[in-house]
């Protein structure tokens, strides 16, 4: 739709954004790759030397890495399971006629806007604390021994906190998708004699499948990088019980000052995220054409 004149103007207008993002992506990323081949500790500057793949070897044979990898998968998988199942249920519920729907929506969406450090601390201290937490009070009331969540089920606790933060996101998106469902299609199914249960599995769920995929992919991208919640609740512990890859890289590089090892971990995290990103990009790209 354009003339040469406007095409040149367009190129000029895109270039600052492109150059900045290119710089942001290429420069630090190539530095990380470079560091990952060095023996480089911040505590002993000037002793950097090229050691090839030793950092990767070290990282990939470190039991901490496998613990972190497993924790990352459990964290991502657990949160996804809760938010998708819960999100579909809540979207179904909110899609029904009711009184005060706007307010209910506002209540349900709220956790998403709470900053991660606040939600982590509130859950840690005011709910999961074995002495003064509300859960401890509840346990006392029921006559059972209070459970020290963060000490005995640290990863599970983090999953709960993160799922609470992300449940609104999936609910909101699935509800939006639900509302775009063609009512005539449902009515046609009703006319054809399909029962509620079958209508859900044959019409509603397939209609939602796209939105569910989007939610899974986007959440995965964010969940792979969960950091603040772990930092303020468990510090990755006890031991490595709640350390994920992101936290491990952070600990390696900024707590133990091992830049080389941390960089190798960072690159591994990038590779893991890319596996998900490829699928997500493909979905979004398809939508761009439509």
């Amino acid at each position: 739709m354009a003339t040469d004149h406007s095409r040149i103007a367009a190129r000029l207008m895109i270039s600052p954004a492109v150059l900045l993002l290119l710089g942001w992506m290429v420069v630090p990323l190539s530095m990380t790759i470079y560091f990952s081949f060095l023996s480089y500790n911040l505590l002993s500057p000037g002793t950097e030397e090229w050691i090839g793949l030793v950092n990767y070897e070290f990282f990939l044979t470190d039991p901490a890495f496998f613990a972190a990898l497993g924790n990352t998968l459990l964290l991502v998988g657990g949160v996804l399971l809760i938010t998708i199942v819960g999100g579909v249920g809540l979207a179904l519920l909110l899609d029904q006629p009711m009184w005060g729907q706007g307010i209910v929506r506002i209540l349900m969406i709220a956790p998403f806007f709470v900053m991660p450090t606040v939600s982590a601390l509130v859950w840690k201290n005011m709910f999961m604390n074995p002495v003064n937490g509300l859960f401890a009070h509840l346990a006392k009331f029921l006559g059972v021994a209070p459970f020290d969540f963060l000490a005995h089920a640290p990863l599970f606790s983090v999953v709960i906190i993160v799922a609470w933060q992300w449940l609104p996101f999936s609910t909101l998106i699935l509800l939006t998708a639900m509302q775009s469902l063609d009512q005539e299609q449902l009515e046609a199914a009703k006319m054809d004699g399909a029962k509620k249960f079958r209508r859900f599995f044959h019409i509603v769920l397939p209609h939602l499948s796209r939105a569910i995929t989007v939610v899974i992919l986007i959440q995965t991208i964010f969940l792979l990088s969960i950091f603040a919640e772990i930092l303020v609740t468990t510090n990755g512990g006890p031991g490595y019980a709640s350390t994920n890859i992101t936290y491990l890289v952070y600990a390696q590089s900024l707590l133990q000052f091992d830049v080389g090892g941390g960089s190798a971990g960072g690159i591994i995290a990038v590779i893991l995220a890319n596996i998900v990103a490829v699928f997500l990009m493909r979905m979004i790209g398809k939508n761009l054409e439509a």
């Binding site: 739709m1 354009a2 103007a9 367009a10 207008m13 895109i14 600052p16 954004a17 492109v18 900045l20 993002l21 942001w24 992506m25 420069v27 630090p28 990323l29 990380t32 519920l93 029904q96 006629p97 009711m98 729907q101 929506r105 209540l107 349900m108 969406i109 709220a110 998403f112 806007f113 709470v114 900053m115 991660p116 450090t117 606040v118 939600s119 601390l121 509130v122 201290n125 005011m126 003064n132 609470w164 609104p168 909101l172 775009s180 796209r210 989007v214 990088s225 950091f227 603040a228 930092l231 303020v232 952070y250 590089s253 830049v259 960072g266 995290a269 890319n274 979004i284 939508n287 761009l288």
Partner: protein, 276 residues
Amino acid sequence: MQTALFDHKKALVTVCAWAIGLAIFFPILWTILTGFKTEADAIASPPLFMGFDWTLENYNEVLERSNYFRHFMNSVVISVGSTLLGLLIAIPAAWAMAFVPAKHTKDILMWMLSTKMLPPVGVLIPIYLMFRDGGLLDTRSGLVLVLTMINLPIIIWMLYTYFKEIPGEILEAARMDGATLWSEIVYVLTPMAVPGIASTLLLNVILAWNEAFWTLNLTAAEAAPLTAFIASYSSPEGLFYAKLSAASTMAIAPILIMGWFSQKQLVRGLTFGAVK
């Protein structure tokens, strides 16, 4: 006809929805309530829901003791600053891609998106070292830069989807009507794009306000925004529930209110237009 039966169902749905809604909201409600309790009431057993002496003491103490205001201003400057800077870079780019699409526009958009998928730990160390050497550690301007880059893809994408909805024919009409590129932007595009730009601004302020990877790793005392300030309550101060709650309430209240206004934009912004 079936009104009675219908209302019966509606009542049941309403009760369920409100119960779940309140349960999900409860941690926030509890935090707000606890902020108004004395420290003793905050850890009372059994817990006090309403029957306590309301006090503003915690707010006073948080405000007096801990430079709360500076951290609050850090949050404001960093989130608003990074969003405005991002808009400045993104508006021309999104305009160009929406209205003068070229062969590679789609590829550029997808590539921009891919930078958002880069996990922050992948670039943590170089950024940290560059900031250290460039004197940007623990400065507002340093964080503004990082958060601009972090959110730039989302800003560009949101603006792109909004601009896409402005029919190209209207801009062509302006061109036929004798508008120069400049007056086309000032008189036609901007007024039509303002709602979209405002939504983008809102959502990105929220995202930047709550960003808790870079803000925690790149700041100490000086430029720490509220995310990092609250993290300092981790221990042992966190055991003072009432003060923790008061500080938390102040940190989340403004964004909670903004967030409620941006529900729709949230879906569009965070799914990159894949769900509308």
